[in-house]
């Protein structure tokens, strides 16, 4: 694995809190490089070769596309869940509080 590639992988693994074995680091390093190497194809829009011109979409069209892909409706504020219902799904309860498992022994 190249030094720069190894540093990138190490930084990414740290971001997603993953401990990698040396074998995993080897394989994932290659795959990450392959994925990053393919980016120019994804970013072909910047190359100007046979690619759509999404920036040319009108404001309304862009909005419609966004809504279709992510059709989030307006928030409708309501009352909070009853405490009893919240606590019913908790892993552990102490009085009105949710308890979490002890992390550090």
């Amino acid at each position: 694995m190249k030094r720069e590639q190894g540093e990138i992988l190490e930084a990414m693994a740290s971001l997603v809190m993953l401990e990698l074995t040396s074998r995993e680091a080897e394989v994932l390093g290659r795959e990450l490089e392959a994925a990053l190497g393919a980016v120019p194809r994804v970013e072909g829009c910047a190359d100007g070769e046979d690619c759509p011109d999404p920036e040319g979409i009108s404001g309304n069209e862009a909005l419609q596309a966004q809504e279709a892909a992510e059709p989030i409706r307006e928030d409708s504020p309501g009352s909070s869940l009853p405490l009893s219902q919240v606590l019913r799904n908790a892993p552990g309860v102490h009085g009105p509080f949710i308890t979490l498992p002890r992390v550090l022994e």
Binding site: I8, L9, A11, M12, A13, L15, V16, M17, L18, E19, L20, T21, E24, V27, L28, E31, L32, A34, A35, L36, A38, V39, R41, V42, E43, G44, C45, A46, D50, C51, P52, D53, P54, E55, I57, E61, A62, Q64, A65, Q66, A68, A69, E70, P71, I72, R73, D75, N89, P91, L100, P101, V103, L104
Partner: protein, 506 residues
């Protein structure tokens, strides 16, 4: 008396009919499916959990309701199974991952609640790729699902257990989840109908999240008619899923009961799917072009269209889904959810070791890529660039669908892959995904319909994609095709003896 083989070969609509007229009871049907599972699951590896006692109890309760004239729905007493990333209260939900091997769901997913309200019987949970990341179930903790048509081949993925179960007659219908083709692709490989509803049609509350702007739950069934029956149960707005929409929850049977004709209907064939450089294998190209001629023989008009962004869709999908997965899967840190390592000296080590031990290689690959996408600043990978491709694809598909009734495209460029060969490289996998991802990226509905078989009988699906509100029409057009060209009797793995009359007359 019907044997389990006969019962398990019947389509869902036939089972409904026989339940309704008293020819069969839910206990008989459920017992038949449990026998089928007992006989076949060790070969196929499709179920990860079977709820035999609870299923029989639900069946008895259903029969009692029917005797009292209080059936909850036409599907009351019909058994079904669900992918192991959908929560069933007090049952484990593992996502086929070591990370969640012992996780017990504290509540029912909304779709499970809807199935229960309709009186359906839950047979168990189905195998899948780990956290739905994969297209062959080879990333599953439990090992791959084998294809009922050829046990040496994959059933596809990530909902491979759902496809194999329906194809083998181990459930009359099943639920899967589709992020980038995970319902459509196994349906194609297993020769069953798979439906990816438009984004927002079915609530994802209680579906373990993979990529939230793409995930959608959909049914796999023996026919388009059966799929419409299930869609009528599971579709609908849900206050617990802000993306769900009531306007998409229509009567999916409405157009089935007044069958549409394909005469004069216009279908677009995206050139990016059908031309030689698309990567279609010769056998799939041959099989599906023969199927296209059958669509034409029913009066369909086929026109050439173009979706230029399709060539980049798989990579855009890979970047977007990985970024969203990196965010969604951050919750599995061994504190609140999932596996906790026994080997740590401080909190940071506990996080890293727990996640390193709990996740498999494919999940790790996507988390690393997702981090590279989200990290932004120093990374050449652009979330915004991928999102632009997504929007462009939506615009192109929407433009084409203004003048077409639907798009016809391959679901997968190859036959089901062998489980004995070496694993595919990442770019190869992306090429395999390219026809499965457009529905997910655009949020438009799609159906995978069995349309062809190779010489050895391996099935191939045709993808039918349409406007957001047109899933009922897509299912009706698929129904028109499958009525005219049903798969030959005796060639399906679940044709276990039933040769009964009209398949689709309820």
């Amino acid at each position: 008396m019907e044997t389990w083989r006969t019962i398990c070969a019947m389509p869902l609509v036939e089972l409904c009919k026989r339940l309704g007229n008293g020819q069969l009871s839910s206990v008989e049907i459920t017992g038949a499916y449990l026998a089928s599972i007992g006989a076949q699951n060790s070969s196929l590896n499709a179920y990860v959990d079977v709820y035999d006692q609870e299923a029989l109890a639900q069946a008895k309760a259903s029969d009692a309701r029917r005797r009292a004239g209080q059936a909850l729905s036409p599907l009351d007493g019909i058994p079904m199974a669900v992918k192991d990333n959908i929560l069933v209260k007090d049952r484990r939900c593992t996502c086929a991952s070591r990370m969640l091997q012992d996780f017990i769901a504290p509540y029912d997913a909304t779709v499970i609640g809807r199935l229960r309200t309709a009186g359906m019987v839950l047979l168990g949970k189905l195998n899948m790729d780990e956290f739905a990341m994969g297209s062959s179930t080879q990333t599953s903790l439990y090992g791959p699902v084998r294809n009922p048509w050829d046990l040496k081949r994959s059933a596809g993925g990530s909902s491979g257990g759902s496809g194999a179960t329906v194809a083998a007659g181990m459930a009359p219908c099943a639920l899967g989840s589709d992020t980038g083709g995970s319902v459509l692709q196994p349906a194609s490989h297993c020769g069953v109908v798979g439906v990816r509803p438009a984004y927002g049609t079915v609530s994802r509350y209680g579906l373990v999240a993979f990529a939230s702007s793409l995930d959608q739950i959909g049914p796999l069934c023996k026919s388009a008619y059966d799929a419409a029956l299930v869609m009528n149960v599971i579709a609908g707005a849900d206050s617990k899923d802000a993306t769900s929409r009531e306007d998409l929850a229509v009567d999916f049977l409405a157009e089935m009961n007044n069958p549409v004709s394909l005469e004069g209907r216009i279908f677009g064939l995206p050139r990016e799917c059908w031309e030689p450089e698309s990567g279609l294998s010769p056998v799939v190209f041959h099989g599906l072009t023969e199927a296209l001629s059958r669509w034409q023989s029913l009066g369909a008009r086929l026109v050439r269209v173009s979706l230029p962004s399709l060539t980049r869709a798989a990579w855009a999908y890979d970047l977007l889904s990985s970024a969203q997965a990196a965010s969604n899967l951050a919750r599995y840190d061994g504190v609140r959810y999932g596996h906790r390592s026994g080997d740590y000296r401080n909190l940071g080590e506990m996080y890293r070791h727990s996640r390193g031990e709990g996740f498999g290689p494919e999940v790790k690959r996507r988390l690393i890529l997702g981090a590279a996408v989200l990290e932004g600043g120093n990374s050449p990978v652009s979330y915004a660039g991928a999102q632009r491709i997504r929007k462009a694809l939506f615009r192109e598909a929407s433009d084409v669908l203004e003048s077409c009734d639907g798009l016809l495209m391959p679901v997968v460029p190859t036959l089901a892959r062998s489980l004995e060969g070496k694993e595919d490289s990442v770019p190869s996998l992306c090429r395999g995904d390219r026809f499965g991802v457009p529905a997910g990226l655009t949020g438009l509905p799609a159906v995978s319909l069995p349309c062809a078989q190779d010489r050895s009988g391996l099935p191939m699906g045709m993808g039918l994609m349409g406007k957001r509100e047109n899933l009922p029409r897509l299912l009706a057009m698929a129904y028109a095709y499958e009525r005219a060209f049903p798969m030959a009797e005796g060639t399906r793995p679940h044709d276990l003896g039933w040769k009964g009359g009209e398949r689709h007359e309820a």
